[in-house]
Amino acid sequence: MATSAAQQAPSPGAGAPAAADDLPVVRLRHPWRWVSYAVIAVLAAMFVHSLVTNPHFGWDVVGEYLFSVRILDGLAKTLQLTAIAMLLGILLGVALAIMRLSANPVLSRTSWLYIWFFRGTPVFVQLLFWGFISALYPSISIGVPFGPGFLETETNTLITPVVAAILGLGLNEAAYLAEIFRGGIQSIDRGQTEAAQALGMKRSRILRQIIMPQAMRVIVPPTANNTISMLKTTSLVSVLSFPELLYAAQLIYSVSFETIPLLITASIWYLVVTSVLTVGQYYIERHYSRSDRLEGLGRLGRLSALQRRRTVTDVGQDGR
């Protein structure tokens, strides 16, 4: 078909394009789409049928526990743990990224070593280490290095399961975020730094005012991804007997033996929260790509006083 059309093209067929408009068009058929629809429809029907008829799903039990105090309390703890661990990860991650890019070789290598260690060992193992830290350091003291201590305390009173969970998740997350932040900072054209230097700005101001606002576009999507991932990773903390969502469910089914319904209950909540976070991610990403949308029309809310004055005079002069 294509070749014959190409052969016809150079010939002076002035009537050909006009004729093409009038001829009926036979749409391309997609038979395999119909086959795939059928296969998926059958599989879906089988699954839905089993959801309804298989009593082991225990939907009545799910309904009973979905809004129970213990599950909701676990959900609240999961959300808090996610927030605090991410906050720790972000703060430490920024510091590590800046250290990594520092001209100071000691800082740069220290950061490298940290990232190497915390990315190189499983987060589950790290959580266990924090949980069992008292076996390694039974007591913690503050004092002169290698000298006498002034303040001494039992490790277990300081590193409670909550603290172990926050440290385990946050310190691990920091290593990943540090690499995301470093990539974002390095993605900005070197000319931006030079232009800012030429204006007399110092490194800290260049980072804050010029580099970071631009790097955010590169940094935010993977950071939001990691937040969603963190929400689910908090379930590992159940091993430290910290009553987050999964452990709350486990505590219930260890007594009632309604294992599957409670795992479903927990899964529903994880899905709900990750869905909400995904929506939030969309809006945050849109916010940071705003300078792509060219002219600042309709952005009067963010204009400075002078710009607003100008806008008013423009309108007055041009009668727009």
Binding site: L199, G200, Q214, L294, Q307, T311
Partner: protein
Amino acid sequence: MTAAVRPMVEARNVHKSFGHLEVLKGVDLQVAPGEVMTLLGPSGSGKSTFLRLINHLETLTSGRLSVDGQLVGYREERGRLHELRESEVAGMRAQIGMVFQRFHLFPHMTVLQNVTCAPMGVKGESRAEAEDRAAALLEQVGLSDKIRAYPQSLSGGQQQRVAIARALAMQPKLMLFDEPTSALDPELVGEVLDAMRDLAASGMTMIVVTHEMGFAREVADSVVFMDGGVVVESGEPEQVLRDPQHERTRSFLSKVL
């Protein structure tokens, strides 16, 4: 020293190497206050590197370079050169404006914010003060109507004029132009050269690396031809461009004129 005016820029035997590659092999030149100097030369002749040494975007390897009597990057004390701290380097750069080939406007800021960010952040000017001067400068370069636009919505010529206004907002005593029209479409070159011509007429000291022979001939007070990391020839535009004394200058000019 007493009778002569102190030069705005003075280079003596300036060398610059990148690893084993020696880019500048002993540059000597002087720029008087109010002088407009154009630096010509084939690519790789070291002219852009020399320009970047002046505001310490590159560090010189040896020699002496001073701006307005102040050494660039170093402080001389008891017969020794001490490297300057970051804040001292920044303070020196704040007095020297620079315009780049590829503009390097800050894309996340409006035109107005681009022009006001350094006066407010570096010099601590009030918003009103910085915005009033920015408005005047943008009017001077003919961009009053673009004050709230983002750089991406501007043409190359408009972006470069904003970049000139941004540099001037710091009220520099010296302006460096690194091939300011080389990244522009031909029809946009004129508007940028016009802005530079106005600036030259206002008495600003300017060093311009360029391939625009028309600008060199009409606006510049002096022309310096560099090749292979040294100054081959320098003098008044008429003399260097019409009657070059060196073979290398002649062969370069025959290619670009």
